[in-house]
């Protein structure tokens, strides 16, 4: 005879860590743009923007790891570890999970090339570092996916209107 337990805390923690990851990525992106634009004030020198941009990125990576771990460990959704790395192979919500996998792959690539910047060279680092600007839509679509579909809300995944 089966017994029912309460709702899984992992299920809620997945939502919490995913939202915070999204916010941190947004903050990191904004600080990166501020750094490229050579923004600084009298009280905040430019290197502060750079350092906080790096901290926010690493913190986002930590929360992304928690988001992935809780998603995989939660027994409700059949998400395997490989589904979080290889896009569009999951049996559970393949499109939305695939977009999340793409975004996490890009984030990991950016962090790895930033840490090993000396080995990869400036050009490779720069090309990889600009990838999130293109892939930034993915986490937003992943976050809005299960709640709102592109057709209903005009999400960022929907094709741009041609005038």
């Amino acid at each position: 005879m089966g017994s029912t337990a309460g709702p899984s805390a992992l299920w809620y923690l997945t939502r919490g860590t995913g939202t915070v990851t999204l916010v941190l990525i947004t903050v990191s992106l904004a600080l990166g743009i501020a750094n490229v634009r050579r923004m600084q004030t009298d009280s905040v020198p430019r290197f502060v923007f750079d350092a906080v941009h790096r901290s926010a990125s690493l913190l986002a990576l930590a929360f992304l790891a928690m988001h992935i771990a809780t998603s995989v460990l939660d027994p409700f959704a059949p998400i395997r570890l490989i589904d979080t790395v290889v896009p569009f192979v999951s049996s559970y919500r393949p499109v939305w999970l695939g977009l999340g996998a793409v975004a996490s792959d890009v984030l990991i690539a950016v962090v790895v090339t930033s840490v090993l910047r000396g080995r990869f060279g400036y050009r490779a680092w720069r090309v990889t570092h600009w990838l999130p600007m293109r892939a930034f839509r993915s986490p937003w679509c992943t976050a809005s996916g299960p709640v709102a579909t592109p057709r209903r809300t005009g999400c960022c995944c929907s094709p741009p209107a041609v005038s």
């Binding site: 029912t4 709702p7 809620y12 915070v20 906080v52 928690m66």
Partner: protein, 111 residues
């Protein structure tokens, strides 16, 4: 050895020498980074907890079925009403009887 006898030599910025403005700004910037990093971590952890609680209250979760021989009580059943009270429908939970059980009729004797 008498320490007071050692002649004191000044090296680097001391009381008399004014500290360059750039050094002060650099130190202030480093202190700002430390402070912002601390707040960033604390805010991220607090926000994760807050969003998790918000999700628990706002969205329907699910009930994890452990063990079980009944195939109908799969893990996909939703958790409760918006007020957080688990619903007992769908054959997954126990339902209170509509009426209290009537006492069994007493049959006496008879042979």
């Amino acid at each position: 050895m008498n320490r007071s006898s050692v002649p004191h030599q000044d090296s680097g910025p001391t009381r008399g020498t004014p500290v360059p403005r750039g050094v002060i700004a650099h130190e202030a910037g480093l202190e700002l980074i430390r402070r912002v990093n601390r707040w960033l971590i604390a805010a991220a952890v607090a926000a994760a907890g807050m969003f998790s609680l918000l999700a628990a209250h706002a969205f329907h979760g699910h009930i994890v079925t452990t063990g079980g021989a009944s195939s109908s009580s799969s893990a996909a059943s939703s958790f409760g009403s918006p007020s957080g009270v688990p619903q007992s429908g769908g054959g997954t939970g126990l339902q209170a009887p509509a009426h209290a059980p009537a006492p069994a009729p007493v049959v006496s004797g008879g042979s």
